[in-house]
Symmetry: C2
């Protein structure tokens, strides 16, 4: 019998290690590389087990498990969404995830995913825009300047070459925070007084607000022809950002229709309203942007395969950086059938040491 050493240990990436990993690689390079991993997985979309997330709803929020597998690796993310958390200094969304080997069922990576989810959401948005935004777009409006806004800006700069930002938030403090954080990132930044002002001259409009309600962040008159809308904030039942009339004028691109119809902007539309699956655009089966007049809408809700890509990416960067610790997560008796014997021998060890 051959035994791999340290079968009990699983690499764990803490929040501290994740921050060091992002800073070591560089945020923009991290976003660019992560986006390439997502693109690769969307190109082999059909090889994945896909299932809508498993959600436990409560009065104050939701806890979800998002599993997927490509037959070789299995990944899942635990993620919560609790808008009221912000009142006592907690994050609205926190997450962690696990990547496992399908052949043995053994986890090969456990990692924080609060920061990683912020990065993958932005990387996904920019990947979609690479196929959908008008050519040469360099100006993006960001409506909602909370935790996700800087990541969106940096991903669109790194992957599409966006250099002009028009920021708006109902809370000017959020806008100042976003502008301050991005002050040395190479953007020309305009802090706007209204949504209307923010969308002026922008070829890309990103909405990323946080309220859990049917909101109308964008109304029909704000969206001219040729715009790409990156709708990130509407991502659960009862939470949308766009007026229905915009949806009716747009070509709508989604990650995974069974999930987006429940969680996305299109929950406002009939269940058979036509949508285009992004993987079909990325594989070249379907056209993305056709012309300069078309309004394209990426109705982003976040799908398990994007987390899977993020887990793969982090795992592939661990060895070179060493930015992880080993967790003693898996019981590893000398003889697999002798779990209780392992306990007894542990007792003997303790008594021997005493």
């Amino acid at each position: 019998m051959t035994r791999a050493p340290d079968l009990n240990l699983v690499p764990f990436v803490s929040v501290d290690h994740m921050m060091k990993l992002v800073l070591t690689i560089g945020t923009e390079r991290f976003l660019t590389e992560l986006s390439a991993y997502i693109e690769e997985d969307f190109q082999r979309w059909e090889s994945f087990d896909k299932t809508p997330r498993v959600a436990a709803h409560s009065l104050d929020g939701v806890i979800e498990l998002m599993p997927t597998s490509d037959g070789t690796l299995y990944g899942f993310k635990y993620v919560n969404g609790h808008p009221k958390n912000i009142q006592d200094g907690r994050q609205t969304v926190t997450a962690f995830g696990v990547l496992a080997d399908v052949a043995t069922g053994y986890p090969v990576l456990m990692t924080e995913m609060t920061i990683l989810t912020a990065l993958r959401t932005a990387a996904m948005s920019a990947l979609a825009a690479k196929y959908l935004a008008p050519k040469g777009a360099d100006t993006m409006a960001i409506i909602g300047n909370g935790a996700q806004s800087e990541f969106q800006a940096l991903a669109f700069k790194a992957i599409l070459g966006v250099t002009k930002l028009r920021l708006y938030d109902i809370d000017p403090v959020a806008t100042r925070k976003c502008a301050f954080n991005l002050r040395n990132a190479g953007f020309e930044i305009t802090a706007c007084q209204s949504k209307q002002e923010a969308v002026e001259g922008a070829q890309i409009v990103t909405t990323v607000t946080a309220d859990k309600q049917y909101a109308t962040i964008l109304t029909d008159n704000m969206i001219g022809s040729g715009i790409h809308i990156n709708a990130v904030g509407g991502d659960c039942p009862g939470k949308t950002e766009l007026h229905k009339d915009i949806l009716l004028r747009s070509d709508i691109f989604v990650e995974y229709p069974p999930q987006t119809r429940i969680e996305g902007e299109i929950q406002q539309l009939a269940a058979d309203h036509p949508v285009i699956e992004l993987w079909e655009v990325i594989t070249g089966r379907t056209q993305g942007r056709r012309d300069g007049q078309q309004i394209t809408l990426f109705d982003s809700v976040g799908f398990a395969i994007e987390d899977f890509s993020a887990l793969r990416y982090v795992r592939d960067r661990l060895k070179a950086t060493g930015l992880y610790q080993n967790l003693d997560l898996l019981a590893d008796p000398d003889e697999p059938r002798d779990l209780y014997g392992m306990l007894l021998r542990h007792e003997a060890t303790i008594q021997g040491a005493a």
Copy 2:
């Protein structure tokens, strides 16, 4: 704004800490107390969100997520089942789990659950037998002497007063291992040469074999009247241990019918074959054992609520024992909307230190 300290930290119980926890409390006391936690949760069965496990099947095994919630706490377990793992020194089943606060979605405990699952499975078996086994039963046959066997023996000793064990395994090495591990545990142990010999004089018959196949560990002629069968090993589609004729002579008790009909011994029976839910027995709504002639069968597959009870139990024992470490699992920016700012400030800290 009031902020709890150390919002980023989640207590983690490693394999080493779990072993120390079990040894500090004592295996039999741990099983008894854990069984009481399970009993408490079965008594409020109706207050739980229940869902069949979310399974990802592959050629070599299965990876499952088992979530449940009582509205205040949310728990899930990650567990794999890979029979071939034993060939390269890995466990057939490994597991870990998380308990979280429903109000905030924040995890409050992460723990190894390979050892803990072995304990909760045995605690559950003994709890069922407390309601179903014939009065005064002191002799148990254990067919299958692998990793679960000692835990079954100790749970039945602690909770029912079983003191005589009749062990059988197709591999005599497994029987010797089990007998050796239990040599000082206060049992009268008989190592048997056949299944037939093992069941002689036993009021309780526990089957806990591991092959993933339709097996016939018990045939009809081996089971006399009045016996309680604790069928632990048949726990996934295509894996059963009992001849169908035994099922037809037994009153069958199950954890959660929608799951047991897929995974349990009753996958051999019609989908509407009558079964009794154990929680109804534990709450007193339905009778368990009626008389000394009845054959009772606990068709055990393991349900998420039992893992939830186990997570609760471990969490309640942490403070007094200190047997955990804190994991830096949750991003905790000073200002919840300023996740990217946290990264920037981390960079400044690193540069300041350099």
